[in-house]
Assembly symmetry: C2
Homo-oligomer: 342 residues x 2
Amino acid sequence: MDDGSTAPASPPTLYDVAREAGVSIATASRALNGSARNVRSENASRVRAAAVKLGYEPHLSAQAIAKGSTRTVALVVRDVADPYFSSIAAGVTEEAQAAELIVTMAVADGSPERELEIVRTLRGQRPRAIIVAGSRVDGAGTRDALIEELAEYRTAGGRVVLISQRDLPFSTVMIDNHDGAARLAVALLGAGYRRFAVFHAPGEIRTSRDRHTGFLAGLRGSGVPEPLAIETGFTRAGGYDAARRLVERGFEDVEAVFAVNDVMAIGAMTAFRDAGVIPGADVGVAGFDDISSAVDVVPALTSVAVPLREAGLSALRLALSDVSHDVLMPADIVLRASTPPR
Amino acid sequence: MDDGSTAPASPPTLYDVAREAGVSIATASRALNGSARNVRSENASRVRAAAVKLGYEPHLSAQAIAKGSTRTVALVVRDVADPYFSSIAAGVTEEAQAAELIVTMAVADGSPERELEIVRTLRGQRPRAIIVAGSRVDGAGTRDALIEELAEYRTAGGRVVLISQRDLPFSTVMIDNHDGAARLAVALLGAGYRRFAVFHAPGEIRTSRDRHTGFLAGLRGSGVPEPLAIETGFTRAGGYDAARRLVERGFEDVEAVFAVNDVMAIGAMTAFRDAGVIPGADVGVAGFDDISSAVDVVPALTSVAVPLREAGLSALRLALSDVSHDVLMPADIVLRASTPPR
DNA sequence: TTGTACGCGTTATCAC
DNA sequence: GTGATAACGCGTACAA
């Protein structure tokens, strides 16, 4: 077919290495992988030399199929560019490197269908574990389908770990959304705030809902009026938009805003300022997650600190251990200048 | 060996599906993978039914070894949690999903040795392409080793694409660091600034060096004094620290600071403020990258916008195309309140 | 249209 | 210690 001028250039195989070293393929395998130390050292070094000379690198797929197991873990997140998920991803990859595992990452983009499809393809990789970081959305048949897919994966010997809320029957690294938000509410009450608005995402997003209801729970019994709820996107743009709408509506009846995550809160702060409203002075603002930029914004953002990187670390550790339980990541309230005492 | 109470639970294979459907393994393969449409539709549906019933998912490693190619691309970054890299990663994964490719990600953590080691293991995956996002560091033998490793991968049929500067002999998506910084310098001169400090990273970091020298080049001929150069880390903490040092030293002779990336600039702004120095008013601050938080910081940060996500998209597209050339991502100066005209 | 059989690169089980 | 050789799960000539 080809004119054959250039070879198809396929990578060297173990067979090539063995031939180069003048030994059998079996010996070459042993020398390189060394499941047993029973190779004459002279031969071993010849093989190693041949390997580097040829630029040989073992074919992981071939190893996987021969050994019946991979050194791969799969991670699915909603959006890598979001600091929330990239922090988790950083934790997972860090722990993976330590365990000499390769991590493959997929982005669900907030779509349950996409998420399901991703888990399906990922299963084909036969990864040691699949870690799904909180893009979970309630309702729809996709939820059951996802459960089934993950369950099949598990019965086939895979480990699955979820990060966020325990709303699916799998080991999960839980973020203390409800209680964290409740304690934030109490802290804000303590700072003298009594009239609130909550910027939240649509109800199918579990994380948003838990933080929202948690906040309300924290307020309960204090006698403060029911917070104004403004629904918007779970993103910076969503926060910006909600704040803009709040200003247009008039915000005389709200002293502080709780946005269910920091990027929303930060977007809201900018929107406020763009509208001539000074965050911290004219209106308090609080978020959730305590992403790193929370301290670089002005005024510094009150938030609920969640050890995201550690959550990633624990998730993989949990996946690799053979016990199956849950882990709760603590949430710490951190009051900053965006909610000065009043 | 085992008491056999619970089966080892290995995933169903194509063979199981074939048996369940009452056809040969070849027919099953054809029905599911469908390289040709020559399967009686009745059989085809039986096979598909059997597949879903058994929860079958093709073993990607087995397919890879049988077909001789994977549907995988590898991405190596310095730090996922850094918005610079996570934006690139977002672009790469987005394009990958579109091409139905799985992306495996590794973190080099700023260590050339680690980077080399990563590329080596990644080669074992036999990915379609390896994309290395600018953690390149000059000097040391690791550079040549990396070149050789990537070259071997390429001659073995792999595609390699670099993101950042064209300092290695491979297709690269170039960020216009030098020229962007030069134009920023000109813009700042135009805004009336004449005495500068530059916060830069150690010289081995190419990106930092290029932006630094580019800035100096932009100043050249204008007759302004040589900028004060402060070396620090390439991170937010580095920026914070540099600013602190500058304040301690006294900054009467500097009107504006150019930090070679935005996270450094943002860290610097916070440090200035912590020291009672108002960014924008007492000292101008400019960064590079135009990460999303640049507009959420106060005052909004002057920066050089680089389409990072697009860089990721192009990188993968370039890797998949069979031409081998370079792509230059434009850099746009965006003047904001952190460098008001004076 | 379908099934048999071989090959992909590797590990593991044997004999030697 | 070493070398054949049979797996591993799948694709695909080739023959039927």
